[in-house]
């Protein structure tokens, strides 16, 4: 099996004809390269989507398999466009990073050693008049011998990038740089061979040193900036030891695990799929799992029998046998990876604008360089050369196109460490601008586990076991309140024709009798004996059970507030945000929660449509709304808000409409997430201002001959670095905390 086929087997998990592959690409430096790959692969028949993440050098392709296009054709198209393909399988990707790092280090190392040597020889020629011709020539030759290998080894990425651009008839950011290098090197070689005139070998050496040092640091940041979930996807084992029914052990590919298979996870091993402890582990056995890559939680979690162990956790206890509860494609981890990919598919608005600007930028620079050459040629030909070199080198479109992605990547990584998963490209920008937070109560402000706190029964004789009936109706419901009834289930009572009405309740038939459980109006609609309610004064309750015979019971179902809710709400208030509760629950329960949290604005008894209307009204008043819900019953509300966050529990997260997911239990990370987003957007603005300001200042100075070529090279590298390092501040601040 070739590497690419192995990779394919691992990632193309979709059933049917929709195929999907992720791989890494060598040679991506900027958004221009990404567009070229997108165009090359997109031109193939049956390709449905191509996404290129230039920051992580990853390409994702969706296509209709089995007809005209296969993985082979896709990889060939990428290679034809001039890029090398590397499979994104655990070890291969790591060693690819290592290879890239080593090569980059060698390039910088050679350039730095050589630059100093060339400088030592050629400095002897600076303004020296009493040096004889033979000695001058010796120094020129020494410079040429040192700098030429630097140009073709250390400068290879720039020359190669420019060559690739030109052969594909486009202008990338390497073109001006390579043009400057060749423009300085060729006349120097010519002058050396004819033993007369100026040589610029020292300048060439210095350009390349600054440029490749800049690239090296940029690359290191990119490698570190990979979000933890990506690191996680990469750390997944490719092979797993399966325990066959006859007790034999067999190694097999992770993609082949099916639900119900038993497999062994060694100490320190990553659990490849969602699983539970296998029966043979022993009834009292406890597994210890580090879920930090999934949730950001640093303490290992204990898992007993029946508790779900999420794919992607690391077994930090003794080796364990587990039973797979889902295949790879359905487990939590692949949902997270899918969401991350969705986030990368959508390039943020700001980054798109910067990309567009950067490609025009190169055209402008080349025009300016030509104008500079013409002007100086007329005015003072001797200085034309230096000025043109300076213009070509000093401009820095990279700073412009790196400004946004570098900062957003840093924020995304930081949020992932807090256990907040960003699933939409624009989410961070929108999160930074919110001024109103709307919270659902049930399952969001309160714990997801509910219990029945009170039961009211009418005086008139209804003899049915109301709890068991309610439990039968709620069986299988995903509503947060349903869980309260689960302990009261009776296997003999089965409800048929179950129907769930969002925001109202459930309906079902038990022993030929029609029952409803839900809001008062919903149940009364069936019973048509609303007046019965008054007989036991239960209107304050939040759940009613009734049949055609009348109301059978009223339940007070509640959930305690999350322990960290008060602190989180106070912190949100401290950020100057207006906080509103929007709940479908009754007044008493909602007001109790609002009082405990010291909130004035609480809306109770809202239907799903009512919540949407509330959010729309707030937005119409000019507020930018951040909606937080449990993600299960409030999808449309989440979609109505400017930016939304769902409590990401279980396997439903992949279907979530939310822009952000809390992988952590609790609300504690919300204030931090908003602070990080705000800080990130501040860094983006700083970066854009810096990149624009630098170019607007440096280009005229260079054109007027005020910047020497080596200073131009230094300035260009520093401005790129400034942008990347500024973006890193977002993460450094986190560490300091």
């Amino acid at each position: 099996m070739s590497a690419s086929e192995a990779l394919h087997a691992r990632w193309s998990l979709d059933a049917g004809e929709h195929e999907h592959v992720v791989f890494m690409v060598r040679g991506i430096h900027c958004a221009g390269c990404a567009r070229n790959i997108e165009r090359a692969v997109g031109a193939l028949p049956d390709v449905e989507g191509v996404r290129v993440d230039s920051a992580a050098a990853r390409v994702t392709v969706d296509w209709l398999g089995g007809r005209n296009t296969g993985l082979r054709q896709i990889l060939a198209a990428v290679e034809r466009a001039g890029f090398g393909v590397v499979p994104l399988a655990g070890d291969a990707a790591t060693s690819e990073y290592q290879r890239e790092r080593r090569t980059a280090l060698k390039r910088v190392g050679l350039a730095s050693l050589g630059m100093m040597q060339a400088m030592m020889y050629l400095a002897a020629l600076y303004g020296a008049s009493d040096i004889d011709a033979a000695m001058t020539q010796l120094m020129r030759i020494a410079g040429m011998v040192i700098v030429t290998p630097i140009l073709f080894y250390s400068g290879a990425p720039f020359l190669g990038g420019a060559w690739r651009d030109l052969t594909h008839r486009r202008l990338g950011m390497d073109v001006p740089v390579a043009l400057a290098l060749v423009l300085a090197w060729l006349p120097s070689v010519y002058n050396t061979l004819r033993a007369d005139g100026e040589v610029y070998f020292d300048s060439v050496g210095m350009f390349i040193f600054f440029l490749s040092a800049g690239r090296f640091i940029e690359m290191s940041v990119r490698h570190r900036g990979l979000t933890s979930a990506e690191a996680l996807a990469r750390s997944l084992p490719v092979e797993v030891t399966i325990l066959l029914p006859d007790g034999k052990r067999e190694k097999t590919g992770v993609a082949k695990i099916a639900s119900g298979d038993r497999f062994i996870v060694p100490k320190g091993g990553v659990v490849p799929v969602d699983a539970t402890l296998a029966p043979e582990v022993g009834a009292n056995a406890v597994g210890l799992f580090d879920e930090s890559l999934l949730t950001g939680e640093s303490l290992p979690a204990t898992r007993r029998h029946g508790e779900m162990i999420r794919g992607g956790s690391v077994n930090v206890g003794a080796p364990l046998t587990l039973t797979a509860s889902a295949a790879v494609g359905e487990s939590t981890l692949s949902s997270i990876v899918a969401l991350l990919e969705r986030a990368q598919r959508e390039r943020p608005r700001l980054a798109r604008a910067a990309d567009g600007a950067a490609s025009w930028f190169v055209v402008v620079v080349l025009t300016l360089a030509a104008l500079t050459a013409a002007a100086w040629w007329l005015y003072e030909p001797a200085r034309a050369f230096g000025a043109v070199l300076a213009v070509l080198v000093v401009t820095c479109p990279c700073a412009l196109s790196l400004a946004t992605p570098a900062a957003l990547a840093a924020v995304t990584t930081r949020l992932a460490r807090m256990g907040v998963l960003v699933t939409h490209g624009d989410a961070i920008e929108r999160l930074a601008r919110i001024d109103t937070v709307v919270l659902d109560k049930t399952g969001t402000l309160t714990l997801p586990t509910t219990s029945i706190t009170d039961i009211k029964l009418p005086q008139v004789g209804i003899s049915q076991p109301v709890l068991a009936i309610a439990a039968a109706l709620e069986r299988g419901s995903a509503h947060p309140l349903a869980g309260a009834f689960a302990p009261h289930e009776k296997p003999t009572l089965i409800a048929h024709d179950l129907q769930e009405f969002a925001g109202s309740g459930v309906e079902g038939v038990i022993d030929g009798e029609e029952w409803r459980l839900g809001t008062f109006d919903f149940v009364a609609g069936l019973a048509r004996h609303a007046q019965l309610a008054q007989t036991f004064g239960a209107l304050e309750s939040n759940l009613f059970l009734g049949s055609r015979a009348g109301l059978a019971a009223a339940f007070e179902v509640g959930a305690p507030l999350r322990p960290d809710a008060r602190a989180a709400i106070d912190a949100l208030r401290g950020l100057g945000l207006q906080i509103v509760i929007a709940s479908g629950d009754n007044e008493a329960a909602v007001h109790a929660a609002a009082r405990a949290l010291d909130l004035q604005r609480a809306n109770s008894r809202l239907s799903p449509q009512g919540k949407i209307d509330l959010v729309r009204t707030l937005r119409a008043q000019g507020h930018r709304v951040f909606m937080i819900g449990d993600g299960i019953n409030d999808g449309p509300v989440l979609a109505a808000a400017d930016v939304s966050c769902a409590m990401g529990q279980g396997s439903a997260i992949a279907q979530s409409a939310a822009d952000l997911l809390l992988l952590h239990e609790g609300l504690a990370s919300l204030p931090g997430a908003i602070i990080a987003a705000r800080r990130g957007m501040r860094v983006v603005r700083q970066n854009l201002v810096w990149a624009l300001g630098y170019n607007l200042t440096a280009v005229p100075l260079a054109a007027f001959g005020l910047v020497s070529p080596w200073l131009a090279a230094l300035g260009m590298s520093l401005s790129s670095l400034g942008v990347v390092l500024n973006a890193r501040r977002v993460r450094v601040a986190e560490r300091a905390k």
Partner: protein
Amino acid sequence: MSIAYLLVSLGLGVFALAVWAMFWAIDSGQFDELDSRGEAIFDESELTSVPRAAAKKSDSVE
């Protein structure tokens, strides 16, 4: 004058040697993990003299 030819070519030789030594060091992994070696003293499993290959593996998991 002829001493200059000798010194310059000697200089180029030393330069070539330095470049070769640096490439060798990079290729043998000297610069691959600058952080984790320094942090290794805090790693308790290191106390029991884990073989180098195993120790390296645990670094890369992070």
